[in-house]
């Protein structure tokens, strides 16, 4: 199974406040759906057309509607432009499955770029006419070295009449994308291509310009160890079992971290630079992927994970994953890198936590971890809980 790494951003046409391109994204258990739409004209009218198109399409496809039903609904919903007597917006629909299979339906946007190790992946497009619109459908497979980029026509027109007579044509964009370092994340690629557009437009985009990038990353097993085992006499045996388990290890909890460090005969260092008013800093133990405080950090990471599965907040959550604090780092490991999650939950009760002044008692901790498992399952992770 793979993590689908997506990123999109736009330049707004010079002089306009609203962008006439819009991207919507939905995360499903088995896949990710993205719709890039470019509304007719620019400004508020275009913005409404593009937003409606992408929102309707994502919502319907997510719920299992067919492409025919979706396009029919879009065509009959869009308001007709008074000047042009047209209701029109383009779209590129992309669906990527967790196993790397991909599908695209393209209508009037520049064709998608599909690149593997600096070479174009051949795409066979099937032409279909739906509601009088010519739509090109294709299927393909992505692996960790494949990059998919979709753009609005503002990209292939970049620099028209300024730095380039004919604009930055599809072939030129293709060459440019092929030259980008294959290790870049989706975020870096989107930023890189958009920056090139901005330069060609000399900071005054002649059209709304949107770049959407998709990459996939391999995932692994994560062992999350939180809370000391119920029977202290067995600490060492339990830790040995966890250390020998397949996959990477994350330790959440101060006391738990101390026990792990002691068992390994290692120092537990604290990286104070990651400390914020809200969140305690991370710790470092050689061989352990991430070491954090327990209940506060898990609570904050859980907030980010909940946002991530909410289509309206997904983009904001993806930005938070980049932050260098304990909760963002924990959420990023679960969301991006984890395929199977083994939750090793220690049942020891910290007497100091059973204090009326301290709102996070043992039951709160247990509930929180059940919720953590449930959200991870909603993301399509295989979750296994071991009480120790």
């Amino acid at each position: 199974m793979y993590f689908i790494d997506t990123s999109f951003d736009s330049l707004t046409k010079h002089g306009e406040e609203l962008c006439g391109d819009h991207v919507e994204q939905a995360r499903l258990r088995d896949s990710c759906i993205l719709v890039l739409s470019d509304g007719l004209g620019s400004g508020v009218k275009a913005n409404i057309l593009a937003t409606l198109t992408s929102k309707i399409a994502v919502t319907m496809l997510k719920e299992g509607s067919t492409l025919e039903e979706t396009i029919d609904t879009v065509v009959h919903t869009l308001p007709v432009c008074n000047e042009r007597h047209l209701a029109y917006s383009t779209f590129t629909i992309i669906k990527i499955y967790n196993d790397g299979r991909g599908y695209a339906a393209e209508f009037d946007n520049p064709f998608i770029f599909l690149i593997r190790n600096g070479e174009n992946v051949p795409i066979e497009r099937q032409k279909r006419i739906l509601n009088g619109k010519t739509i090109y459908e294709c299927s393909f497979t992505m692996d960790k070295d494949t990059l998919l980029v979709a753009v609005s026509d503002g990209v292939v027109h970049a620099g028209v009449g300024r730095s380039l007579d004919l604009g930055w044509q599809w072939e030129n964009v293709d060459e440019y994308i092929k030259s980008i370092d294959t290790s870049f994340s989706a975020l870096d690629i989107t930023g890189n291509v958009l920056e090139q557009c901005r330069r060609l437009y000399e900071d005054e985009a002649g059209d709304d310009t949107t770049v959407l990038s998709v990459k996939i990353k391999e995932q692994e097993t994560i062992n999350l160890f939180t809370g000391p085992p119920k029977n202290p006499a067995k600490d060492y045996d339990v830790i040995k079992e966890i250390l020998n388990a397949e996959g990477k290890i994350v330790v959440c909890g101060g006391t738990t971290a101390n026990i792990v460090a002691r068992s390994l005969g290692a120092e537990l260092d604290v990286d104070v630079s990651t400390m914020t008013q809200e969140l305690p800093p991370i710790g470092k133990i050689p061989g352990i992927e991430l070491v954090t405080e327990g209940v506060i950090t898990i609570n904050k990471a859980l907030d980010i994970m909940r946002e991530y599965i909410d289509p309206g907040k997904n983009a904001a959550a993806l930005k938070k994953l980049q932050d260098k604090n304990s909760a963002s780092m924990l959420a990023a490991i679960i969301i991006e890198r984890c395929e199977r999650l083994n939750l090793w939950i220690g049942q020891a009760v910290n007497p100091a936590h059973q204090n009326p002044q301290y709102p996070m008692d043992f039951h709160f901790k247990m509930q929180q971890l059940e919720e953590f498992a449930s959200v991870a399952r909603q993301m399509g992770k295989e979750v296994n809980i071991v009480y120790i």
């Binding site: 909890g253 101060g254 006391t255 971290a257 101390n258 537990l268 604290v270 104070v272 400390m275 914020t276 008013q277 969140l279 305690p280 800093p281 710790g283 405080e293 327990g294 209940v295 506060i296 910290n350 007497p351 100091a352 936590h353 204090n355 301290y358 996070m360």
Partner: protein, 81 residues
């Protein structure tokens, strides 16, 4: 060089470790003691009922953001002179 270890476990964090670390760092700099003391964060010191725990030498003190100045004057600055 002496370490002043401030616990950042759950209870201590909620009771103000972040502010105490910043306050102690500021006081140490203001008093020109940077070559004598270093403030470090540490995971649970095991004395959660006495949060926020601050360990200086072998002793664990209970310090709150409001009492950080007092702790500094009595146990850090006082002993440095």
């Amino acid at each position: 060089m002496t370490d002043i270890q401030v616990c950042i476990g759950s209870v201590c964090h909620l009771k103000g470790s972040y502010d105490i670390i910043n306050k102690l760092n500021k006081l140490i700099t203001e008093n020109g003691l940077n070559d004598k003391y270093k403030v470090k964060a540490t995971f649970c010191l095991g004395n959660c009922t006495g949060a926020v725990c601050v360990k200086l030498g072998e002793e664990i003190y209970t310090v709150l953001p409001e009492t950080a100045d007092e702790f500094f004057l009595k146990n850090v600055k006082g002993s440095a002179e």
